[in-house]
Symmetry: C2
Subunit: 198 residues, 2 copies
DNA sequence: ACCTGAACACCGTTCAAGT
DNA sequence: ACCTGAACACCGTTCAAGT
């Protein structure tokens, strides 16, 4: 599983095949099937290993601080493995992921919300982690080079017709905001949940 | 492109191959390459067709109402084509998607935020649309049958060790909230943006 | 208990040949 | 200008055979 993660980190998830993984491990192509049921099984194990990376936060610091720290650590773990976020969002959870969910739910239980509001809070927070990370990963993997992005964009969009869009892309190309956008929107959500949950 | 969307709607995106699409159209396998550069090109065209579905909202109703309506329509269009959300988040935009982004940016320009805050708003809103839709699609495609979900979950998670998680799953299995969670969290974000942007 | 090569049923795509 | 079959370089996986 570690070797598979290594390969996916280096060459992307499309560059990971059972045959390449086996030869990377110096084994015959079919030896893998003694350790893994099939490729799906391997992919599940890979995501679940990432799900084990964020440290479980100290709940005594209060629900909002604990949730914030957990979210930031998850965000960082997913950025370390750019192939992971898509599968994180679409595959069935493994043991680490179950524990991960249990931990976030326990943090939210400390907030003493109603059952409905706690559920909204859970989905709003995980949605932010996943949505924001997905956006950032897509952006950075496609456009490692900001200039190449801008050139391709400029070639496809006729200057006159999309004024706001062109401004937006120029804004990002110039470096964008100095704020930590992940934390800003996260706090927007956490504050809103605290206020509306009372 | 329409035939490809039809096939993907019916059999999932993994069930779509160039060979199957061609034979579905009653053509030889390689005829497709006269109309499309390669499979990537076809997939781009498919997502972009979905990006053309949400109606462009009337901006005279105010930025918040217009953004809300646009978000809801996008959410619904993406639910109609469950394969689309993943590619929407990872592929380079086409003409309809550029217009889509321009439209949302124009709506936000009506709010007269600072440049930084308008950018935060743009990403917070698209993040919600994409993150929430992805979550919902993953849930419903994997677990068309709620009972099967519950059975598989119960088999993997030992009852004693994950009390909050088990409560959470039971809550959803019992029907969950009656609220429209998509709209609730969307308004949480839109209200927060309005308040913090002044 | 673990490994493996041959084989099968698929892929996307190139190319030369057709109309 | 559009179509197409044969061929190539890949896949994941089964199975029978090995140690």
């Amino acid at each position: 599983v570690d070797a598979a993660i290594e390969l996916a980190d280096a060459h992307g998830i499309d560059g990971l095949s059972m045959r390449k993984l086996a030869s990377h491990l110096g084994a015959g192509a079919m030896s893998l099937y003694n350790h893994v049921a099939n490729k799906d099984d391997l992919l599940d194990a890979m995501v679940d290993r990432v799900a084990g990376q964020p440290a479980l936060p100290d709940r005594s610091q209060g629900w909002q601080a604990a949730a914030r720290q957990f979210a930031v650590e998850t965000h960082q773990a997913l950025l370390r493995h750019p192939w992971a976020i898509t599968m994180w969002q679409t595959r069935w959870p493994g043991p680490n992921r179950w524990l991960y969910m249990e931990t976030l739910l326990a943090i939210l239980a400390d907030a003493d919300f109603t059952e409905d509001h706690a559920d909204l809070a859970f989905h709003a927070i995980t949605m932010h982690i996943q949505g924001f990370t997905q956006q950032q990963v897509s952006y950075t993997t496609q456009f490692a080079d900001g200039d190449a992005l801008y050139a391709r964009f400029a070639a496809e969009v006729k200057a006159g017709s999309f004024p706001h869009l062109i401004d937006h892309v120029r804004y990002h190309n110039d470096g964008g905001t100095t704020q930590d956008e992940f934390a800003f929107v996260l706090d927007l959500i956490l504050d809103g949940l605290e206020r509306k949950g009372r």
